[in-house]
């Protein structure tokens, strides 16, 4: 597990895959089986992450690695660890704040705190951002734009 916690997310390298909560299980037998949950169906990082896990384990002398994609239960932003959320904030991305409820997905998020000045006086600039998992916001107090990691 500590070897895996050194594997960065290719889209947001400040986070590791264990911060993201996508490593679901590791089984050590004749082979090492790692269960990973994809984040979005079409996330282009899925294959890169799988290859990085294989590389990380091989560097540590584990040659026989099997990756399993586990779809259920589906990954949710609720699984991002507390440490992961702090790292995101320090990196300038507002972490997902509330639970990924139906209401949240249907109505959107309000009062997202600015990762720079903590003000909740912020507004949505775009529901979509540089990757599928982020939205673009602007802080009305410090006037800085920032990205928000959407709840899903």
């Amino acid at each position: 597990m500590s070897w895996l916690s050194a594997v960065p997310d290719p889209e947001i390298p400040v986070l590791t895959i264990t911060d993201l909560g996508i490593v679901r299980d590791v089984t050590i037998g004749e082979k090492v089986t790692v269960d990973l949950s994809p984040t979005y169906s079409g996330c282009p990082a899925t294959e890169v992450i799988e290859q990085s896990v294989i590389d990380a384990l091989q560097e540590n002398g584990v040659d026989d690695v099997v990756i399993r994609r586990v779809l259920s239960p589906a990954w949710t932003t609720d699984w991002i660890s507390a440490e992961g959320r702090n790292k995101l904030r320090e990196y300038g991305i507002a972490p997902p704040e509330h639970g990924a409820s139906k209401r949240e997905l249907l109505q959107g998020s309000h009062g997202i705190a600015c990762p720079r000045c903590d003000s909740t006086n912020t507004q949505v600039v775009s529901e979509f951002g540089s990757t599928a998992c982020k939205a673009s916001y602007k802080c009305s107090d410090c006037l800085e734009p920032f990205e928000y990691f959407k709840c899903i």
């Binding site: 169906s41 079409g42 996330c43 779809l71 589906a74 949710t76 997905l105 775009s126 529901e127 979509f128």
Partner: protein, 252 residues
């Protein structure tokens, strides 16, 4: 048709719907006049392609002949694709795209919600993942549909025309065939009549909010689910499959 054949056909069809709509949306990537909509379209297209991959991978396993997701996408002929006619319709203008997405995704979300309770574990798992994505799309597309309908005279009139023209393709989404019936009976699958009732109520409310008129159900086109497609689809897969057909087995 036995239970196993019906499951394979059902899963393949889910993949076809996702791929064809995703491919249509890919055609207009980098053509949007605004960055936000550009990103929305590209993000949504990516979700659909991702869902198609999950359905096709599973279909390949069910079929057991060693076909992978790419074989399903690139090496099947026109009449082997069983998606809805609605999804192969050309992109048209922005109002056409939004109306198409609204009509399909309002149905697709209800279908996926029902599939999360079906007896086939893998389909249920994919549905759990996919429904979250579609819910997010639908919020965006519903807002746009209402904004266009309840917008200027020009946008109101144009999106009303989009709705009127696409409406004839909505009937086949709810018309169960043998595959739907077997899937419902054997795998605790969705009840399309129930889904239709909810869909009609939801769409009627959104259309009213958009100050538009609901079209009549007098003529409904069908055939997509049986592989009989409109002329548009031939051009579409010709472009999509060109590389694999010309340079078989080409890879990155």
């Amino acid at each position: 048709m036995n239970k196993e054949q019906a499951l394979l056909a059902y899963v393949t069809r889910l993949g076809d719907n996702a791929l064809v709509l995703g491919q249509r949306m890919v055609e207009v990537v980098a053509a949007y006049p605004e960055l936000e909509e550009e990103l929305a379209n590209a993000n949504f297209a990516l979700d659909f392609i991702g869902q198609a991959r999950m359905f096709y991978s599973y279909a390949g396993e069910l079929e057991g002949k060693g076909h992978d997701e790419d074989d399903f996408a690139f090496l099947r002929d026109e009449n082997e694709f069983k998606h809805f006619l609605l999804l192969e319709q050309p992109n048209g203008h922005f109002g056409d795209s939004i109306a198409k997405l609204l009509l399909f995704e309002s149905f697709y979300l209800l279908l996926l919600e029902a599939l999360t309770h079906c007896a086939d574990e893998r389909v249920a798992e994919i549905a759990v993942r996919a429904q979250k994505e579609i819910r997010y799309h639908l919020r965006h597309n519903t807002q746009w549909f209402v904004r266009l309908g309840d917008g200027t005279d020009e946008s109101h009139q144009r999106v009303q025309t989009s709705l009127d023209q696409l409406w004839q393709f909505t009937g086949e989404m709810f018309a169960p065939d043998e595959i739907d019936n077997i899937f419902e009976a054997e795998f605790d699958g969705p009840d399309l009549f129930k889904i239709r009732e909810t869909w009609q109520a939801n769409i009627a409310a959104i259309v009213a909010e958009a100050t538009l008129l609901l079209p009549d159900d007098d003529h409904m086109a069908s055939g997509g689910k049986q592989g009989r497609h409109s002329e548009h689809f031939g051009y579409m897969i010709a472009e999509m499959q060109y590389l694999q057909r010309t340079h078989a087995g080409a890879s990155w």
